[in-house]
Structures are given as structure tokens and as C-alpha cells.
Subunit: 353 residues, 2 copies
């Protein structure tokens, strides 16, 4: 099967599939013992900068789980770190920016990303992966709002007070920051696709902290620049955030082919909000996986029933939690494939492509 | 004006008001310099246990802002701390439980609350306040789910993984925990009302982390026990959580007279979701207050237009942030009163009681 006809890419395009494809956000990483062994004492940024290591980490969950897509091992702050914004990824906490952004002068700390010069290791990792993988590789970037929130807050935030204060109090600086970050995300994603990535996911993880009104004014335009800037490349564009129930239609309209949905909104409701012509991805609560396979299986069956079989990619509603038992995920992949395989007798009332 | 005819209580009952009432969640506390001076080096739990201090802290924002209601200075973990669950409130972090709950045996660490014996200082603080206040006093408690999340996680949580794992993996233990916490919340609230509180707010601050399905099964029944257990006392019951856009109708139906709404859902939408017969409270984004008064005023006017004038209490969508300038809040109170006073010429299309 050529990659373009893989279940994952067909589902992203709302084309009929023989079984529902599945992958997991953060499928590579701390929940896997082989990841912890392989990464050893290297920091996440060190691992990302080592194409051999990053490629191997990306491949681990594909081998173990038999998922329908790989996602590049990287982090949303990699491009801004590469152009010299001083930051580190602190274990158990997340990205921490040494000198948070706050004034117009800080804009000078951002320059356009030149992926061949600034992040050659990302390109090299993608090249190695596409040579080896028989499933599509998903490239990714952080959406301008979410990356900006780290730069402005100086790290993960509960209430995004500094970020919201900046956008409302000094919109000119805010929009300049958004422009710069949109250019960086777009350049990074283009370079990943040009190196062979078959799809991209734009992570606006914290967009759900915004009201619909603020999202529309302060976050969406820059995300649209990124997503529409990728249109000519012809790869599916996934757009995801948590707590975005009020924003799903806007996140689709920003230029997404696939809208990621967390566990708060049933996929049937999400389908109605997003409208026809776009696929959905999600939305099993990752915390459910900690309650053991039987509970996870029962919830997964409900999610599958709500997701339908066309224009749907099974996933969690957010990333795999570090304490997840990998066997639960492995069995979930089997379950999704078995329960949705075309040969299986359809349940009463079930829609089929 | 008798207290029962105060704008706040009338608004809670969806009765016509002469102007929209306003108070702020966490109006007492760290944003006030007089609070920081008064509390000095006392811990929050020490301050709560000192009726003179707790009453004075409760009064400070009433004097400074001219808000239409006072809210008891306390914390949602006060009752469980009083019956011997070892915990402390760590500055900048929140409640931290020394030995998190996880097994059926932990249920023995909870016993029924006897407010006169266990939290006499709360009752005494309420009595002092009602003798002094000329606006209604709001009592409060944490909803069983939110209090349970602190007990099970051991502190504030990002993903509530242990809590969700317990509810799904060991529902019997979970429901026993909910029963115990519902009894504790109900006993605490009854004692506050019997001592003179004119209204209560049940804080299910983190209920928005749950899917609608999980909320309905695992959280709502215990909250209903609390809210319906208060019905005979005849005081308005406010029910609040953040990120609860998908749950607003359920949170109303659980037995609330007033549903608190965060900034993510416009009040017009919230009104449609909650339905007639219940008031709304909210929903200015507290982070907006950090962008200065002009921005906050503009957003407050929009919130007022969406909230309407009947069955509506102006508030923030979550608690006052510690870095908030008190002058912004003082001017917001003036604005809400001035813009909604009956004498003012009504704007085009504006509904009036």
C-alpha cells in the first residue's frame, strides 16, 4: 500500500478506510521503558538534536504498538530555542524561559527561522525516519499562541495572566510576537514536510484558556497564517488543543483538515460543531488508561461509536501520561483495529463507509 | 433595606433589581495590601481558625470595594483538615495532603463533621460577620469531587490522573469517598447558614476536568446531595467551577439557584444552556484586570450586556489574581453599579426588569 493510501492519511482526508487508524499523542516518551533506557541522562533538547537518537525514540512506539502513524520526537519550543531564546525543558515541569518576554524590545530576540541552518537535526531526523517507516510520519509545531505563552509566562502557567495582560494591554507588541512566531512555525513545518513528513499537527495546547472572542482576535489569525501557508504542500493539517470545546469550529476554520478534540466534548457533538468536510481526532481521556485495560476498552468502544468510521482518527484527548502501562496502549491499538475492521459484522445502527 | 431585599439576594432569586449586584471570588486575600499586613506570618489555616482575624479579612474588601456581598474567609479544605486529615496550604501551591488517599482503608480517615465541635471558629466568624455586615454573607464549601481530588492527588493537579483512575478503577471506594465528603460539605454549609449566612457557594472548581459523562456519574450525585440537602434552609445556592462549559446545565440541575460561569462561555450562551429559572454569576476573565482599568471596563461592559439585568450577579470568571490592582476592582464595582442603575437611560435593545 502506498503511503498516500494508508488508513491514517485517508482518514485525515475523510476518505473511506478499511479500519479506523490510531496513534497516541506523546506515544514516544516517558511511558516507555525503552525510551527511558535509551535517553538515559540526555536532556530532551539534547535528544532532539541527535538525529540517530531522535529517530530511534520516534520509532519505538511504532514497533511496540503497531500504530498507524509516527510522530516526530521533538518539542514545541525547539525552533525558538534554536534561534537563541534561552530556555530549558525542566523534567516534570516543562519549558522554562530564563528571561520571559514582556516588552517590545524582546521582539528583537526573535528572528526568522532558517531550518537548514538552525534546525538541521530536525530535517535529518525526518529524513532518516521516512527512509525507515512504513507508516506516515507526522511533523509538528507549536501554535503561535501556545509558544508565546511560554515566552511571556516564562514557563507553564495556570492562568496565563501575563500573556492575557500583554495581548489586551499592548496589542501591537502581541501581534508582532504572533507574526514572528507564525513565521517560525511555518518555516519549521515546511522544512519537515519537504524532508518527507506526510502530515503535520499544530499544537495550540493552551488555546482553551482563551474566551472565544479572545481566541478569534488574538490567536486564530496567526494559526491561520501557519495552516494556510501549508496548503500548497497538500499534506493533512491537524489542529489540536485541550479544553477547546468552545473553539472547535474556529480551529477547523483556521485551515485544519483534522480537528483534535479532548475528552470533554463527545465526538458526536464535536462533529456537529466542526461541521462537514473535516476529520476529527481523539478523544479518550488519557487518565482512563491508568484504570486498567478493561475500563479503557469500554471507554474506547464508546469513543469509537461516537467517532464513526469515516473522517476519524482514534487518539487520546491529550498526551499519554508518563505513568501509563504500555500494554494498555498496545491492546487499545488492537481493539481499535479489530472493532472497526471492515470484515467485522457491523453493530446495529452503525455507519459504514 | 432588609437583607432579604438586597440586590444580591434578589438577583440570586431572579427577582427584579435596581442595579446589578457585584462581588468577586477571592475578593478577600492576597491582592489587598491590608490583607497582607493583617495576616502577617500567620498561615491561612491559622487565620481561618482565628474568628477575629477571619472576620476582619472578610470585611476588608466590603469596605474597600463596596461590593454587594461578603464571602467568608476560609478554604475548601478547612472541614477535612478539622477532622484530622493531615494537610497544609502551601503558599503559591495550594492544599497539600501529607498522605494522599488511594485505598478503601483511607476512608477511615474521614468521619462525619460536627461543626460545633470541629469548626467552632467558622461558626463564630459567621456570627461576628452577620452582626456587623449590612450586605449578605456568602458561606461556602468545596464540592465533593474537588475536595476528593486534593485528597487523592495529594495536592493541586494538572490531569487528575489518580482521581480518575480511582473513580473508574474502584467505583465502590470512590462513591464511599463522595458520600463522606458530601456529608461533610452539607454539615459545614448548614452550620454556616444556621449561624447567619444568607447564601452559599459550592465550589466544584475542577469539575471541568471531567467529561460530561464522568461528571454525571461520578461527581454530580454527591453535589446534588449537598445542594438538595440545603433546600429547606431557603438560601440561594451558587454552584461554580472553571472550564465547565459542557456541564452548565447539569450543574444547574444538581440543585443550584445560581450557576457560576467562567470566561470561556459568553453569558448569553450560558443562559441558553442553563435554562430559565436559574440565575447566572460571572464571568469577566480575572486576567483581564491585569491589563489596566480601561481594558477591564470595556470587557466588563460586554459582560454586563451579555448578562442582562435580571437573574444575574456580576463577578469574575474565577478568583481575583494576587497581582491584581485593587483600584481596578474598586472602579469595576462603580462601573457595574452605574451602568446598570435603573435611572440610567437604557441602551438600544436592552432588556430591563
Amino acid at each position: 500500500v502506498p503511503l498516500a493510501d494508508s488508513p491514517f492519511l485517508r482518514a485525515c482526508r475523510c476518505q473511506p478506510v478499511e479500519q479506523v487508524p490510531v496513534w497516541f499523542m506523546r506515544q514516544a516518551g516517558r511511558s516507555l521503558p525503552e525510551y527511558r533506557r535509551l535517553r538515559g541522562t540526555a536532556s530532551i533538547l539534547e535528544a532532539v538534536r541527535d538525529p540517530e537518537l531522535a529517530a530511534e525514540i520516534t520509532l519505538q512506539p511504532v514497533r511496540r504498538y503497531g500504530v498507524d502513524a509516527a510522530i516526530l520526537f521533538s518539542d514545541i519550543v525547539v525552533p525558538v530555542a534554536a534561534i537563541g531564546v534561552g530556555l530549558e525543558i525542566v523534567p516534570g515541569r516543562g519549558p522554562v524561559v530564563a528571561e520571559p518576554f514582556g516588552s517590545p524590545a524582546d521582539l528583537e530576540r526573535l528572528r526568522p527561522l532558517q531550518p537548514e541552518l538552525d534546525t538541521p537535526y530536525v530535517i535529518e531526523t525526518v529524513r532518516r525516519l521516512v527512509a525507515e517507516l512504513d507508516v506516515p510520519l507526522i511533523g509538528f509545531a507549536g501554535a503561535p499562541f501556545t509558544v508565546a505563552s511560554y515566552l511571556v509566562e516564562g514557563g507553564p502557567s495556570k492562568n496565563f495572566a501575563r500573556t492575557k495582560s500583554l495581548m489586551h494591554g499592548d496589542p501591537a507588541t502581541w501581534f508582532s510576537l504572533m507574526d514572528a512566531l507564525a513565521g517560525i512555525a511555518l518555516a519549521s513545518l515546511r522544512s519537515q514536510v519537504e524532508a518527507g513528513a506526510s502530515a503535520v499537527q499544530l499544537f495550540d495546547s493552551w488555546a482553551g484558556a482563551l474566551s472565544r472572542r479572545d481566541y478569534e482576535r488574538f490567536a486564530l489569525p496567526a494559526s491561520r497564517t501557519v495552516l494556510e501557508g501549508l496548503a500548497e504542500l497538500g499534506v493533512p493539517r491537524i489542529h489540536f488543543g485541550v479544553g477547546t470545546g468552545e473553539l472547535l469550529d474556529l480551529m477547523g476554520a483556521a485551515g485544519a483538515d483534522v480537528v483534535g478534540v479532548d475528552w470533554r466534548v463527545p465526538l458526536t457533538s464535536a462533529r456537529a460543531r466542526v461541521g462537514p468536510g473535516r476529520a476529527l481526532q481523539g478523544n479518550l481521556d488519557p487518565a482512563i488508561c491508568l484504570a486498567g485495560f478493561d475500563v479503557a476498552a469500554s471507554e474506547a468502544r464508546r469513543v469509537l461509536a461516537e467517532g464513526g468510521t469515516t473522517g476519524y482518527v482514534f487518539n487520546l484527548g491529550h498526551g499519554v501520561l508518563p505513568e501509563t502501562d504500555p500494554d494498555v496502549l498496545a491492546r487499545l491499538v488492537e481493539l481499535v483495529h479489530a472493532e472497526t475492521a471492515l470484515g467485522r459484522p457491523a453493530a446495529a445502527g452503525e455507519a459504514r463507509p
